[in-house]
């Protein structure tokens, strides 16, 4: 017993040492990586970084903190964008030499930001979107930050109430959760939603297209990754022409029964085609950014025209007219056509579980 205690003590000290050291090592690795990137920069780029650094240092502490938080989000987005690439494409990006690889990563990030931006616009009330768009650029960030804080509190309380009831939590437990610190609110809602999704899976069967094994592996993920993967699964099924059949929300536009399922599927294909294809970016990695942007836009437009024609989403005359439109005008027309997909379908109050 004495030896067991001694052994446990030694193991505890060792794990503490290793944990502490690995944290220090990762910080040190990050710095070493930054140094390597710094040394790969051209002198004028280094000078630009120094100017930005001086600017950053002159900002108030609160603004610096906000920038650091946003930088972390952007870093996560960059990684998510890379994760979304099919494996062969990801490997091709990794094999690019440094200037091209960095540039392609930045452009993939831009694509990801545009995709999320469009998704979030559909989530916000139209009047809020309009107000944000009309705000002066220098005030927009502050206006949005205020809205974000208020909305987070409102939605958190609302969701805890609803999810708590559906999960059968005691009223006092629901009240306790609603009083938790604001910073924990979103995480708590995601956790409850994941639990409810799990119970729905047990009650109504697994989401279509998932095996029990795959479902269990998804449930083992942290909530944020769980919902991201589930959304990807839904999207893949939709693009493959199958109904996702998951959850009460989703992208089911009002009146889609009138439009018919084939049209809905065609619109989804068009929506997917209207976004730049990462494979095009990688293929054109050695072109200048401007030439690449133009070529990618042209290929995207060609894909859209092909789907418009094949799926007869517009008449022949209209198709000819669309062919003559320039880039932004063409993109505007496509956006209008797929707008019903972005309209949220909300079940009537008595249908909500």
């Amino acid at each position: 017993m004495k030896h067991a205690h001694a052994l446990l003590l030694v193991l505890a000290v060792l794990s503490l040492c290793v944990a502490s050291r690995s944290q220090g090592a990762s910080q040190s690795d990050a710095l070493a990586d930054a140094r390597r990137r710094w040394e790969a920069l051209a002198p004028d780029e280094q000078a630009r970084m120094k100017t930005r650094w001086e600017h950053y240092k002159s900002l108030p502490e609160g603004e610096q903190r906000e920038l650091r938080a946003r930088a972390q989000v952007v870093l996560d987005l960059r990684q998510r964008a890379a994760r979304r690439l099919p494996v062969p494409l990801r490997e091709r990006v990794q094999q690019l030499p440094e200037p091209q690889r960095g540039q392609i990563h930045s452009e993939l990030l831009e694509l990801e930001m545009a995709r999320i931006g469009a998704r979030m616009r559909a989530v916000l009330p139209p009047e809020v979107v309009q107000e944000l768009e009309q705000a002066r650029p220098d005030e927009r960030a502050k206006f949005f930050a205020d809205y974000q804080v208020k909305q987070r509190v409102r939605v958190t309380r609302y969701m805890i109430e609803r999810l708590g009831k559906r999960l059968g939590l005691a009223p006092e437990e629901i009240e306790r959760l609603k009083k938790e610190p604001e910073a924990q609110g979103a995480a708590r809602v995601l956790e409850l939603r994941q639990r409810l999704t799990q119970e729905e899976g047990r009650e109504f069967g697994l989401p279509p297209g998932l095996t029990q094994e795959k479902w269990q592996s998804l449930l083992a993920l942290p909530p944020e990754e769980f919902f991201e993967r589930l959304a990807d699964h839904v999207r893949d099924r939709q693009l493959a022409g199958a109904e996702a059949g998951i959850g009460s929300g989703g992208a089911r536009p009002a009146g889609d029964s009138a439009q018919g399922l084939p049209r809905l599927r065609a619109l989804r294909r068009l929506q997917e085609a209207s976004q730049a294809d990462p494979a095009d970016l990688v293929e054109l990695a050695y072109e200048s950014p401007q030439a690449r942007r133009e070529e990618v836009a042209e290929r995207t437009r060609e894909r859209c025209l092909r789907i418009l024609s094949e799926d007869q989403l517009i008449s022949g005359d209209e198709l000819e007219r669309w062919r003559s439109l320039n880039g932004p005008a063409f993109a505007g027309q496509v956006e209008k056509l797929i707008a019903p997909l972005l309209t949220r379908w909300r079940p009537p109050a008595d249908e909500k579980r």
Binding site: C17, L31, G117, M120, R121, V155, Y158
Partner: protein
């Protein structure tokens, strides 16, 4: 090399250094080890010493107590067995002895008696086999053992001691703790990081290089940039709220 080999070789080495005669080798209880250890046999075979060693081994003998016990048991058995044997012999017819047996035995005894006392003594002494040891054998064997000598002597006695082991364990833990916690002590880490920055470059700037590289993106105020840089948990929260009909503000 196992502990048995080490003990054997240390004894051998000690014996050779003391320059005792080969007859002393028989006092070591190493024949059992040699029987089971190919490496040690090979070591001695290389210098033809194995044959000499084996030749000098003492005849097997029983410990005195064991010998007494065996004799006692034999005697106990004899009493009953002899009586039974006598009874059997009585039943047998007398064995016919060869007619010249007595003469042959007597002649043999006579010839032995005729030998002088020195000759009989010599014959007895010849039974203890003489060992002819080459003069430089100890030196050659020692030379073979030389690489092991320092190794064995330096390590084993020190590491085998418990206080030394405890001291080593404590030292190891102290080193680990220092390795783990030293970089986090106030005032030391920045210098270490500064040491990694190229000359003329602020290490704190390198720490924020990600941010500076994305400066334009982070300073953008268009709506898509603002919306897409919401923390992912907030994005999901707002989406769920929208699906569930949460108030949009």
């Amino acid at each position: 090399m196992n502990p048995g080999c080490r003990a054997f070789r240390r004894s051998l080495e000690q014996l050779l250094e003391d320059a005792r005669g080969p007859q002393e080798w028989t006092s070591l209880s190493w024949h059992e080890h040699l029987l089971g250890c190919r490496d040690c046999r090979a070591l001695l075979e290389a210098e033809e010493a194995l044959e000499l060693l084996l030749a000098s081994l003492p005849a097997p003998s029983l410990p005195p107590r064991l010998a007494r016990r065996v004799l006692a048991r034999l005697r106990r058995g004899e009493a009953t067995r002899e009586a039974a044997l006598d009874r059997l012999l009585e039943l047998d017819p007398a064995a016919p002895a060869p007619s010249d047996l007595a003469r042959v035995v007597l002649a043999g005894l006579e010839s032995e008696r005729a030998q002088p006392a020195e000759a009989r003594l010599d014959a007895l002494l010849e039974r203890a086999r003489a060992v002819d040891v080459p003069g430089d054998l100890p030196r050659r064997v020692l030379a073979q053992l030389a690489p092991e000598r320092t190794l064995v002597r330096r390590r084993r006695p020190i590491l085998a001691r418990r206080p030394v082991q405890l001291a080593l364990a404590a030292g190891l833990l102290a080193l680990l703790a220092a390795w783990a916690f030293w970089p986090h002590r106030a005032g030391l880490r920045p210098e270490r990081e500064l040491a990694q920055a190229p000359p003329g470059v602020d290490a704190r700037m390198l720490e924020q290089l990600d941010l500076l590289e994305q400066w334009d993106l982070l300073r953008r105020n268009d709506l898509d940039s603002l919306l897409s840089t919401l923390p992912q948990a907030d994005q999901l929260l707002f989406e769920m709220g929208s699906e569930e009909g949460a108030p949009g503000g």
